[in-house]
Symmetry: C2
């Protein structure tokens, strides 16, 4: 076998952010790719997914996952092509979903790789509508939210990877979908292209009043992925027996301190009691047994035009840090993906 | 039919409390009982249940139930004997469960009455272990809490009507029951007579540390019926996927203002997310379809000695206000019941 040398360009965590991440928290490195051992494959990364949860990995606060070590490659879901294989189950040219992180090449022993069929769907969708974000929407909405026909489902970041799927799946189940998004362009996309029943701009100075107008029968399911001021506006509108799958709190991820007073927790608990509310945090992997149903249903909904999606693709691994910083500020428009290589 | 005159002694809401209720918030009245119309029965009240939820009815704050009007009879569950009947389904001498409130006689059209068999169980148990409190424990613990064998279930007010049933049903389901109670007498009752695996005294200056010791594997189900400082001690111990049925917040019922700062709600939501917690308020009537199973199972558990209970019976309707005030301070020991008449 002719020895070919590959250079891996990777982005590592240089330091932990205090508040919003900055370019200084990341460092780009070029290193040689080691030779494969038996049972290994070499992955050339084509697409890298950027997602809000990565902010959590940059901190060493207690969470559901261990933090990324200083100097380690930033974590992330990826679509890759196998360029060398010494593994019996994988061959050069295979496309796979992997969790290789922010880098251009990765060596894998095959564990955790899932083969992708490039003729079945755009490869990048394995990171979005047909991947972890789409599955997060599906499992959280259907298992915890359990929307019934005629109920009102509200979701923020409604043009994003998770929110756009939440609202459309709610519609498929016969519920009324109300989206929250930032700015007129995203709002019109949510209403006109995704087909939500109503959309409210959280930058509108009358946001709270307009959200109430958009939910004349109150809110039965609030899919929580932002927290902060949106949550404050939603909470009074929750109906008796409302369900709140808590999937993310992006508006709080950069917070460096607890909230200032008064302490709203006692009143919150009182409302949970008097309105029989259900508040339920979750991570999609809890519902992994539903993944086969998700892949089957979501693919069909896409084919039928009932589940649409938008990708926001930035070019080159060097662009990843700024794109991620923008994601936390809501600057992306659709599922944020970095194209690391063309093929 | 000879006309017999009855005098009804009743306790009405004289004024709404600010903070803890006082004797001045109640007024005792004596009024004549009106003659029965066709289709009505006259109930002589034997037992009145006193329960924490009544504090909510005394306030006009928004809640799941309308407040008691000023001047109206205080609400409450009762066991009564029918002393006159012009209703085809009820006869003089029948015992019934009713919701007649704080009074010695009541006229009913029969709706909502449930006949009781005095040979099957002590009549007073229809207000406690075989009544609303027992069913609250059963439905909240099993439907929301869903304890699994080997898991740790924590409940406060563990010698009380709801808490004592929660811990014992948890044990029946194979879980480890940890009770919280106030003072050595209640604690020894919970451990030695009810058979909880451990008990912690919330008056102990080292309460938080001792609760942690009593839950070496963390907490999987916390049946919330008190709120306040107990909740603060429990919350850090909740395991990933813990369930918290929120049934009551007695420690907060007399609060007149929101909590002082800092605002703990943002951090609370973050913990709900990172630990995949479920927080779920409920009122037992939501689960009314489970009532037949409850009556069947609870009666059997009592017969087998696996579901024990303690009643704290005070004598005479005049004693109800002070007994209720004491209930909110934890001064009762067991299910608090007022005996209004001997038979």
């Amino acid at each position: 076998m002719t020895q070919q040398t590959f250079t891996n360009t990777r982005i590592v965590l240089a330091s932990r952010p205090s508040g919003a991440p900055t370019a200084e928290n990341f460092r780009l490195e070029n290193v040689s790719v080691p030779e494969l051992a038996d049972g290994q494959v070499l992955l050339k990364i084509l697409f890298l997914s950027l997602d809000p949860y990565m902010r959590g990995r940059m901190s060493d606060a207690k969470s559901y996952a261990a933090p990324t070590e200083i100097g380690a490659v930033m974590e992330g879901g990826t679509v890759a092509r196998i360029v060398q294989s010494r593994h019996p189950d994988f061959h050069e040219g295979d496309f796979v979903l992997s969790h290789s992180g922010w880098q251009s090449y990765a060596v894998s022993d095959g564990s955790g790789l899932r083969k992708l069929d490039p003729s079945a769907a755009l490869l990048s969708t394995a990171l979005g509508v047909l991947g972890m974000p789409g599955f997060t929407a599906y499992a959280g909405l259907l298992t915890i939210g359990q929307p019934k026909a005629g109920e009102t489902v509200v979701v923020a970041a409604a043009s994003g990877a998770v929110g756009s799927a939440v609202g459309q799946i709610a519609k498929i189940k016969g519920a009324r979908a109300v989206g929250i998004a930032g700015g007129p362009e995203k709002c019109s996309f949510v209403r006109d292209e995704l087909g939500f029943d109503a959309v409210v701009d959280h930058r509108d100075p009358d946001f709270t009043a307009k959200l109430k107008q958009a939910c004349p029968n109150g809110i039965d399911v609030y899919f929580e992925n932002v927290g902060g001021k949106v949550w404050d506006a939603v909470f009074p509108l929750l109906n008796t027996y409302a369900r709140v799958p808590v999937c993310g709190l992006i508006a709080q991820y950069n917070a460096t301190a607890g909230g200032s007073g008064p302490d709203r927790l006692p009143n919150f608990m009182r409302e949970v009691l008097t309105r029989s509310l259900q508040i339920r945090g979750f991570i999609q992997r809890e519902f992994v047994d539903q993944a086969p149903a998700f892949y089957r249903e979501a693919a069909q909904w896409i084919a039928e035009g009932r589940l649409r999606y938008r990708e926001d693709i930035v070019e080159g691994i060097e662009a990843a840090p700024q794109a991620f910083i923008g994601l936390l500020e809501g600057r992306n428009f659709g599922k944020l993906i970095v194209r690391i290589a063309e093929d």
